[in-house]
């Protein structure tokens, strides 16, 4: 099987919108120590999906402001499409892992440096960082993008068309490198133009966060 087929299969088949939640639920207590803000590593993990729902509904850092009808629909879509599962870094909260909404949708934190992913053995094909923003697998290591409208490190200079073409084509900015797993663009590409434009309209209303996400890490040429 060739490389591109593997990427497509992984993206389409292995990853669901709830994958991040499942990953979080599966983190053993010892791994939870890696969470920066972990107050009690022995504390049992709670229902992470509830944490997502609660926090995504009311991001602490986002001031209340009137949204356009399109952006309002976009906010709803972002909530139900699981964007925060991977594009918002997770931390250990009082009830277990939860997205850090002070860094809402700002992607993999630039200060969490990763040189290479762990070796996958046995039945394991891929793995995620403690923040659920970096993923290692047969594609190398991928990092979730900064979706906030910061002009230098986020989507501040993107147009709605760039965003739409990226989702449709599965290519960075609609014409560059492949968008890597586990981004579920094979599902999202079936959304209507209106829905994708709504998502983009909402993302452009987010507080811009300066966070330069690292470039993906390829597997070595020899592999």
């Amino acid at each position: 099987m060739d490389k591109r087929s593997i990427l497509t299969l992984v993206a389409a088949g292995l990853v669901s919108l709830t994958a991040a939640v499942l990953v979080a639920r599966a983190i053993p207590t010892s791994a939870a120590e890696a969470f920066e803000a972990a107050p009690e590593t022995s504390q049992p993990l709670s229902d992470a999906s509830e944490a997502v729902a609660q926090n995504a509904a009311e991001p602490a850092s986002q001031p209340a402001k009137a949204l356009s009808p399109a952006a309002e629909r976009g906010a709803y879509l972002v909530k139900i499409m699981g964007c925060n599962d991977c594009h918002t870094p997770w931390k250990m909260g009082p009830q277990g892992p939860e997205p850090d909404m002070s860094r809402m949708l700002s992607g993999h934190p630039q200060d969490l440096q990763i040189a290479a992913g762990p070796k996958q053995e046995g039945s394991w094909a891929w793995s995620a960082s403690v923040t659920n923003t970096a993923f290692a697998g047969p594609w190398g290591v991928s990092f979730t993008m900064n979706l906030t409208p910061d002009p230098e490190t986020g989507l501040g200079k993107w147009t709605a068309d760039t965003f739409l073409q990226a989702i449709r084509t599965g290519r960075h900015e609609g014409r560059g490198r492949p968008i890597l797993p586990p981004m579920p663009y094979p599902m999202y590409r079936n959304a209507t133009d209106d829905d994708l434009h709504a998502v983009f309209a909402y993302l452009q209303t987010l507080p811009p966060i300066k966070n330069r996400v690292p470039q993906p890490i390829d597997l070595p040429e020899a592999q």
């Binding site: 609609g174 560059g176 492949p178 470039q215 890490i217 597997l219």
Partner: protein
């Protein structure tokens, strides 16, 4: 091997004018670019563009006897796109009595009805023939046709393309591009058509251009088009002073030409990636006096891509004197999915071009102090 069931599918990729704002149905393969200078590709609902014919033999490329139709002019761009070593043949069909509007030397406007074809062959076997058809005032149709086993005809490929249709080197297979792949390059430049430009058809050909096909009798060039009255206005200057990249030396000229043709479709100052700030597209109008954009925006410039094994402080898009720290060279040399450039349309490194561009970079004088953009190589 090409399977028949893959070939009966066909979805036209259309590029139509921007403007309609209606939502389109999921999966519908209509896309838009604009032939207007500076207008980026966009996506619209379009019911106006016609469908491409199902068979290549129905497109007008061939005459009744199966040979290339007499109205179709062959041409050979002086800086060809690298296509993994394919033998490529190209033709243009201009409607009778029409001329190309070349009032903007860098963004030619073609008469409605103009068609372009490009045939790709490896090892003497035709694999695909792509067609670009200006079907309406602002509507372009993109289609590609996959050749059958007995090489008698080719059928319209599906919207998603076809993976791995033909082995072109040991362990390497060619894939038919999907709609999005066509638009990735052709929707990224205001000109839409990339290989039929003033620079590409200049009679002042670059002898160091990698993989260039020699001009054959009957091929369209600026001179032949002008003599046939196919350029409007006639632009005598395109014949008396044919476009040529101004450079310090022949290697630099060829390197800039190669980068313009292979990278400038996306990396230019007018398309959707203009915000990246890397402009490798030769500007025939500006090229008559101003420094090449490539020298201005790439040499010494810090890029977002950090060359593996270097630091953000030392990595450059083009690091004068240091190909090993130059992202352009290292990404041309890679065929890993996140690193390779171009990011699509090729699975084999263009060794000749890597050597050419490396030589260009290695020969540049390193700046005295590491720092900002320092354009080298221009008088």
């Amino acid at each position: 091997m090409i399977r028949a069931k893959q070939m009966i599918l066909g979805v036209v990729a259309t590029v139509a004018a921007a403007g309609a704002a209606a939502s389109r149905a999921p999966g519908l393969a209509t896309h838009a670019a604009s032939a207007q200078a500076g207008a980026p590709a966009t996506s619209v609902a379009s019911g106006d563009a016609p469908a491409a014919p199902h068979l290549l033999s129905q497109t007008g490329l061939y005459g009744s006897d199966g040979s290339i139709g007499p109205r179709n002019l062959p041409f050979a761009p002086q800086y060809p796109l690298w296509s993994d070593g394919a033998a490529k043949s190209r033709w243009i069909q201009l409607p009778e009595g029409t001329a190309i509007d070349v009032s903007n030397i860098d963004v030619w406007r073609f008469p409605v009805g103009t068609k372009f074809w490009k045939e790709f062959a490896w090892g003497g076997r035709k694999v695909e023939t792509r067609m670009i058809w200006k079907a309406g005032g602002r509507a372009w149709v993109f289609a590609t046709y996959v050749w059958n086993e007995d090489q008698s005809d080719a059928a319209h490929a599906p919207e998603a393309g076809i993976m791995n249709v033909a082995e072109i080197a040991p362990g390497k297979r060619h894939s038919i591009p999907g709609t999005g792949d066509c638009l990735a390059c052709h929707g990224g430049s205001p000109a839409v058509v990339l290989g039929f430009t003033a620079l590409q058809l200049s009679d002042d050909r670059d002898p160091l251009a990698p993989h260039a096909d020699p001009l054959a009798p009957g091929m369209a060039t600026l001179r032949s088009l002008a003599e046939a009255g196919r350029l409007d206005p006639p632009r005598e200057d395109l014949v008396s002073r044919p476009p040529r990249i101004r450079a310090n030396d022949p290697v630099e000229r060829a390197a800039i030409g190669y980068l313009s043709a292979n990278c400038g479709g996306c990396h230019n100052g007018a398309g959707p990636l203009a915000h990246v700030g890397l402009d490798l597209l030769h500007d025939a109008a500006g090229g008559r006096g101003a420094p090449e954009h490539a020298l201005r925006t790439a040499v010494g410039a810090r890029g977002r891509y950090i060359v593996p094994g270097t630091s953000p402080d030392s990595s450059r898009i083009v690091a004068p004197g240091a190909p090993e720290r130059s992202a352009i060279v290292q990404r041309m040399r890679s065929r890993r999915p996140s690193s390779q450039m171009p990011p699509l349309g090729t699975v084999i490194v263009d060794d000749e071009a890597v050597e050419l561009v490396s030589r260009w970079v290695a020969g540049m004088r390193a700046p005295a102090a590491d720092g900002g953009v320092t354009a080298q190589g221009m008088p």
